[in-house]
């Protein structure tokens, strides 16, 4: 029953959103904006609470079983601390909430991001081997671009930069365009299957 109802609601919202795209009328735009800003955002905010609760449950269960208890307690402290300090001192400038964000969350996140530089190094060493013609093309293209962005000066540099720019603007862009068109078509048919109800995996009901 709930599956059938969900399917119908899904189809209605699909058709409505599709049609709204073509209308500049204030009423149409209000509905489209209401769905994308109010409905989407509010559902996500509630879902985040459900996610946090499930995170909490799993961790508490594992702490009771003694699996990685110490680490999981650290996670839970972090999870509880943020809302707690936010309730007590607010979230504006110079609050403990901002302090934790700036001195704990930001450095941790940026450093995880920075790990990428190292992974780029190991992947370059391991993955860029001219095993075949396509692999060689990949290699040459990457090397030309990288060289053009390194420290080269003079005549050679301007020729190199021009070559790199040409690659980026024409052959490389052509392939990207084809990929985008392919993705567009794939997304289009997937969306259509969802709306007409052939695609029901998301309901958990199989097809």
């Amino acid at each position: 029953m709930s599956r059938r109802l969900a399917q119908i609601i899904c189809a209605i919202f699909g058709v409505v959103m599709f049609l709204l795209f073509f209308s500049p009328h204030p009423a149409a735009r209000t509905i489209a904006l209401t769905i994308t800003t109010e409905y989407w955002q509010v559902i996500y905010a509630f879902a985040l609470i459900v996610g946090a609760v499930s995170f909490l449950r799993v961790n508490v269960k594992n702490i009771q079983r003694g699996q990685d208890s110490g680490y999981r307690i650290i996670s839970l402290i972090g999870l509880v601390a943020m809302p707690t300090v936010a309730i007590i001192w607010g979230i504006g400038a110079n609050t403990p909430f901002m302090w934790i964000f700036e001195n704990i969350q930001v450095p941790l996140q940026s450093t995880v991001f920075a790990l990428l530089a190292f992974f780029v190094a190991s992947a370059s060493f391991r993955g860029f081997r001219a095993r075949s013609l396509p692999a060689a093309i990949l290699l040459i293209s990457a090397v030309v671009i990288l060289l053009s962005r390194s420290w080269v000066e003079g005549q050679f540099a301007s020729g190199l930069i021009a070559t790199a720019d040409w690659i980026r603007s024409y052959p490389s862009m052509a392939a990207r365009r084809a990929i985008l068109i392919g993705i567009g078509l794939g997304s289009l048919t997937t969306s259509l299957r969802v709306i007409v109800g052939i695609e029901r995996t998301w309901l958990g009901g199989g097809r």
């Binding site: 504006g92 940026s110 370059s124 390194s150």
Partner: protein, 267 residues
């Protein structure tokens, strides 16, 4: 301690980058047209112009775009522009405030008179559109809860019509939203400082003029600092950046040499 091949690639990178930074050499950088254009744009705005700096990025890309953002804000302050700071992504909020506060205290600019920080507003598309009607309605108070009308700098600033331009400090698609909603609906001039990875995405907008100017990544920051004749994180990082690229090229070369030698042996 057992080190594998990948560990050696890591150690190499560490040595190359840290070594280059400790050398303290700040090579001259050739100024690209795009950075020159951005510089001239900011430089040409008369004293007292109101600019919106929008911190539209997440904290993880801070290391890359902070030098560029700082150079732009410093330039604006030195030209006597009045700056409104906002953030359309929550993570940019505190970061943007710190950055502006730092630049302002260096140049002796006063909060409320020369610059204000309005803080974060969710639903960026709605925020961009709504500021086009009324900035005060969008941000009734500043970051500290001071009412809009009691900040002297903002008297007479109703919407984009009193603002010379928006500079979006971003790491993703936020400048696209500024272009699609702010520029095309209200005609406000958009420029941006963004991560190097994003720059190519904006080529079409630059060529159509919808995006007025942009600077990209650490390299863009270094060029801007050169034009401003001040030091900064961009210049400090340039030797390291170039060395890192060469290092990656050498790794690719080494990987291929090893591959071909071992293949020949097998044959």
């Amino acid at each position: 301690m057992k080190l594998e091949a990948r560990h050696w690639t890591f150690v190499g990178l560490l040595i190359v980058v840290v070594g280059a930074m400790l050398l303290g050499v700040r090579p001259d950088v050739t100024i690209s047209d795009e950075t020159q254009r951005m510089f001239e744009y900011i430089d040409s705005l008369p004293e007292g112009s109101v600019l919106i700096y929008s911190f539209d990025h997440e904290s993880s890309s801070l290391p890359e775009i902070r030098p560029a953002a700082l150079a732009l804000v410093r330039h604006s302050f030195s030209k006597g522009h009045r700056i409104i700071g906002v953030a359309l992504l929550a993570e940019g909020t505190g970061i943007g405030y710190r950055l502006m506060e730092m630049a302002a205290s260096e140049s002796g600019r006063q909060y409320g008179r020369d610059w204000v920080y309005l803080g974060f507003k969710p639903q960026y598309i709605a925020a961009i559109l709504s500021m086009g009607e009324s900035i005060e309605k969008t941000f009734p108070q500043d970051y500290f809860g001071t009412p809009y009308d009691s900040l002297s700098m903002l008297s007479g600033v109703v919407n984009y019509q009193q603002v010379a331009g928006v500079v979006s400090i971003g790491d993703g698609n936020m400048a696209v939203h500024w272009i699609e909603y702010g520029q095309s609906r209200f005609g406000i001039r958009i420029s941006s400082a963004m991560t190097a990875a994003m720059v190519t995405t904006y080529d079409p907008y630059i060529s159509s003029g919808q995006l007025h100017a942009l600077i990209g990544g650490l390299r863009g920051a270094a060029e801007y600092e050169t034009l401003l004749k001040i030091g900064g994180g961009g210049q400090r990082g340039m030797l390291a950046q170039a060395s890192a690229h060469i290092y990656i090229l050498l790794l690719i070369l080494a990987g291929n040499v090893i591959y071909f030698v071992s293949r020949r042996r097998r044959d």
